[in-house]
């Protein structure tokens, strides 16, 4: 493992010493590597950061095989005392880690954005990371962020600063050579875009997948390069690689240049950890509801509430319910139709012993939040609902009929158990 210190600013430009490349290859060779922006807390990476490294590792291994190249997975980590994190990031798939260590890097968007953006543009880092690509390097080829509160905003501002494209909430990635014919991008002519990142994004309904590409404008009238190709990645969809302490790589210290005037523009006064009023982890059972309650939302909500009470369960909801689509009494709506209760990619990921899905269709976003439950029972009128494929038991029937029967039976069996204990 090599450790290098680089100080900023550095405006050195590389000398052309390599053999000549064809002009097209030079254009393409300006962009190298996947840069992955890491988030961390209490000295540990967030799970999504390791998931992104895992996916970047798999993509890059295929990429290097396919294109006979040697491009890298580069982790970027900012914060106070982050040096001990760096090895861990290598163990989880990074080839190189660029870290910036300063107490001022405490997730203020303004300051972090400038540091990440300057790391992305910094050519001298490539001397340490991959000297063979130093000469032509200008920008990362790809860039990954987490689709969470911090990463979503950071990705937006960093890409606004780098003036390139960004796709959000991605759950599948493919790298391909694609022939594109586009009115604006190619002026209607077919052009092959090599090494293009196909970024798959499930839409809000969970039934459609949109593939987004970030492409240079090759149309002479609006000629412009758009790199890196960047995306934010939904937590919980990709797997990290197994931690491998034999993996090693380059760790580079990046001394950021943080202007005094930026520090004066924003200060963090306090930071307080809060416990959500809804704590799914405390419960062995979660009962959750979706749009299937729509026929009589008020009554059905009350039924779900009673069922949860009988089972000593916490109540979860699917994303559409948090948008308060039905008129029900304020006391129920303000308690249950709230974002804190959403299970899925826009909310919490849960893994109770028992998950009861009531009137939930099973959109991919919801499934991502509950698929690790030990045992799943779903109640739905529609036997073709996708939730069936995520269920151990599928009760076909109307909420109004099934839940009262369940409640009655649960109470009866609980009474029997109490009797037994007394005996």
């Amino acid at each position: 493992m090599t450790l290098t210190n680089i100080s900023r600013p550095n405006n050195s430009t590389g000398q052309d010493t390599n053999v000549d490349l064809k002009s097209q290859d030079i254009g393409e060779s300006k962009y190298r590597h996947i840069y992955v922006v890491i988030e961390h807390e209490e000295g540990k990476p967030l799970p999504v950061s390791l998931e992104m490294l895992g996916e970047a590792r798999r993509l890059m291994d295929n990429f290097n095989n396919k294109y006979m190249s040697n491009e890298k997975v580069v982790a970027i980590v900012l914060g106070s005392d982050v040096r001990p994190l760096c090895e861990e990031l290598l163990f989880f798939g990074a080839d190189a880690v660029v870290y910036a260590d300063s107490p001022e890097l405490n997730s203020r968007n303004l300051i972090d954005t400038k540091v990440i953006s300057s790391i992305a543009k910094d050519k001298s880092l490539i001397k340490e990371i991959s000297p063979e690509y130093y000469e032509h390097f200008q920008r990362p080829r790809y860039m990954f962020f987490a689709a969470d509160n911090i990463g979503r905003q950071l990705s937006s501002t960093v890409m606004a600063d780098l003036e390139s494209g960004l796709a959000s909430d991605i759950n599948k990635l493919v790298i391909e050579d694609l022939e594109i014919k586009h009115e604006h991008k190619t002026k209607g002519k077919p052009i092959v875009y090599k090494k293009t990142l196909e970024m798959y994004r499930p839409d809000f309904s969970g039934f459609l997948w949109t593939t987004i590409l970030c492409l240079d404008n090759r149309n002479p009238a609006i000629q412009r390069d758009y790199h890196p190709q960047a995306c934010s990645i939904i937590p919980g969809v990709f797997s990290p690689i197994d931690r491998d302490t034999k993996r090693n790589g380059v760790i580079v210290n990046y001394a950021p240049d943080i202007p005094e005037e930026d520090l004066a523009r924003i200060k963090v006064l306090s930071r307080r950890v809060i416990k959500s009023a809804v704590d799914f982890d405390k419960y062995k059972c979660i009962v959750s509801l979706g749009r299937g309650i729509k026929d009589s939302p008020e009554e059905n909500m009350k039924l779900v509430e009673r069922l949860a009470h009988t089972l000593n369960a916490e109540i979860g909801i699917s994303l559409p319910i948090s948008k308060k689509p039905y008129t029900i009494s304020e006391s129920l709506s303000s308690k249950y139709f709230v974002p804190e209760r959403v299970i899925g990619t826009s909310g919490r990921k849960v893994n109770p012993l028992l998950y009861v899905a009531i009137g939930i269709s099973g959109a991919v976003q919801h499934v991502a939040g509950m698929k690790d439950s030990e045992f799943v029972i779903s109640i739905n009128v529609d036997e073709n609902a996708q939730i069936k494929d995520e269920s151990d038991i599928f009760i076909k029937g109307r909420i109004e009929e099934v839940i009262p029967m369940l409640i009655e039976e649960i109470i009866e069996q609980q009474a029997k158990m109490v009797m037994k204990v007394k005996e």
Binding site: D148, G165, V268, D392, Q413
Partner: protein, 295 residues
Amino acid sequence: MVSLGVAVIVKLEPDFSEGNVSYNSDGTLNRAETKNILGPHSAIASRAAFYAKVNYGAEVSITTMGPPIADYALQQAQLISNADNLYLYSDRIFAGADTLATAEVLKSGIKVMQDQGRKVDIVFSGHRASDGETGQTGPQTAWKLGYTFLGNVISYNVDIENRKVRAKRFISLQGFYDVIEEVEASLPVFISVDPSYKADYNTITQRLSIMKNRKEASKKSQEFKKHLQVLNAEQLGVDVKFVGLPGSPTIVYKVEKIPKAKPSRKASVVNGSDLNQIRDIVMKMNQVISGMIIK
């Protein structure tokens, strides 16, 4: 001279409430049949601007980019915020813009407001749109404007004299916990308002001011066109290379139905009206909860 000027960026979105939203048989949104309204997150951002109106007597401007019918969103936002000015940025060449190209138009719009002599100390936007859900346009507009971006703001107050904002932000750290962070930033700032935003109106003066402003708002929004400016690309002074489709780094390459994943479990299907089967299920549930069955 007003002490504070604020702008709100809003969006006209499909109405996802039951009875208004229409889905195709394959589960996708039927855009033609679904009504459009002021997006719920835009409504929350408008409430945050109303707070500035009530507390600081701010001049409020609402802005949106969209087709001519998007003026409906402006009207609704005016009703919520008692806005003084409405701006619609509308031009066919803006169509199909991704977030970066949209941010370019919105930035130019704020600049035009400033050129007209308005103060824009705070720009508010919703957390994310219900239909696009990227949450990128707000921060990208902030960056292009050079405003300090504050995301997920749940409450804020302005120190008018010292030109500073104090705001609380909600940050969810996956796998750890949630955090409330309090920050202080110099004006101008760009605030994206969290869905759990709350305004505190405690004093009698504030409550009286609310009533007065609500009355004004309802009057103004009835004749909202009096307050409306519609600006096209030329009037905004945007470079057509940086807006709409030509100015968008990203394209939608394809849209497909998400293929059904391989079933991860094999469900046994039970008839919900069969009491005997329900009895068996409840026994199973009890075993699962008591930890007697671990798959």
